[in-house]
Symmetry: C2
Subunit: 283 residues, 2 copies
Amino acid sequence: MRSLKGRLDLCAVNTATLGYQLPIEETVEAVARAGFGAIAPWRRELDAHSAASVGRQIRDAGLKVSGFCRSTYIPAASRAQFLENIEDNRRALEQAAELNAACFVMVAGGLPEGSRDLPAARAQLQEGIDTLLGHARKVNVPLALEPLHPMYCADRSCLSTLEQALDLCQALDPERAGMLGVAVDVYHVWWDPKLEPQIARAGHERRALAFHVCDWLVPTRDLLLDRGMMGDGVIELQRIRRCMEHSGYTGAVEVEIFSRDNWWKRAVSETLTTCAERLQSVC
Amino acid sequence: MRSLKGRLDLCAVNTATLGYQLPIEETVEAVARAGFGAIAPWRRELDAHSAASVGRQIRDAGLKVSGFCRSTYIPAASRAQFLENIEDNRRALEQAAELNAACFVMVAGGLPEGSRDLPAARAQLQEGIDTLLGHARKVNVPLALEPLHPMYCADRSCLSTLEQALDLCQALDPERAGMLGVAVDVYHVWWDPKLEPQIARAGHERRALAFHVCDWLVPTRDLLLDRGMMGDGVIELQRIRRCMEHSGYTGAVEVEIFSRDNWWKRAVSETLTTCAERLQSVC
């Protein structure tokens, strides 16, 4: 396993961690100044800018783009809405290309409004990814399917386990052409009894495109916005990173923390300093 | 699949659903009066009574005991505490026998205080179940391992999926002697992409000992105490019950709802009436 001591160049900051307190240009400067090697911006931050200009600014600051967040949910209550969702993701993929992102992070989406049909949502997801994969190849940005914690199955992601994500990759890209893989976020997968063999499989099948860290707090007070800083919770972070890297992962270690009542209330500089310290000590 | 219309005798009420508003003797009467065929009491309700006398009262009311809730968590920070947990579960098993319970519901427990070692917690669980299985055979009460939703992995259950539970059963009881199986609660497993094949497996391996229903609300406002009444959420209840019964399950359909801010505030009679109605219409 790589040592992260003095190697913040191997580490990335997902801008969600900073609670979107600053405009993207200031966030880029702050992340670069703190010594990180990469950044993962969100689409909403680009609204007022062209992706090309933000991409240029990020490169000028000496940063890479570890991932671009994130897809529009795919399953929809109507065919027209499904097609619109695909089209919106195509546009996002073009932005990802302009940013020179290492991957486009895909969050599946849950059950369409009014539906209880999980197999149907999953079938829509498969069709949607299949369509977008063609576009990903064209713009040369890999799709990173991110399985989300099962507690988000209803409203955010019908893709719930790493095994399910890898099965989907295998079904749509059996030749492993390099444009379809997974994002492994410890928050979503740490509980999985099959985590280690599935990470090994991701490596073997060359699917590991991103690795996200944060921590699981006890108690967790909110299903979405109460993630912990690395070291403040119960996830055995080093064991999981060791698995990732033994399986061949060489990409960034990206911090992604949604924390409405704690980290999002702190100054960006304090959060970045703490991330840097924890990455080097407990990850 | 069995029709539940006019067949409340096939249905059970887990007393947690009623928020422990009444002493157990009144709860038993209320459940019997509402027409249910079985009840699943909690250990805390027996504190002031002998299990034998409560068991007699339940039988006199014409009810069966679909399950006895629940085990003391097994993983512990010290060997002494681990052994104490096992001993406490032995005593509970004796109560389960006096109640003539169809099964003893086992909730595994999560990480011991101060630990991040999930594989070690799972090893303790396996050792604990192995020890208790001998006692279960002696008192003739099957152990029903209940995988809990992965969001409880840290503090309530390192047993997180049906597949993991069935693997554990297979490891400890390869001869399938009938004293080790699983409790399938829709709340905990509905999201699982492998749910249908694992339910089929549970049937094939003769492990299905209990089936619990409630619903997953969107949004879910509390990780523990915001379960929904059947029909108020997004779980496709009939699909899951069909799987269970196709796989050979013939036991009770038991309602178990933890709902601090809604059902626990209502009158017991109203909750029972609604359970009865929903069991016959949406389950």
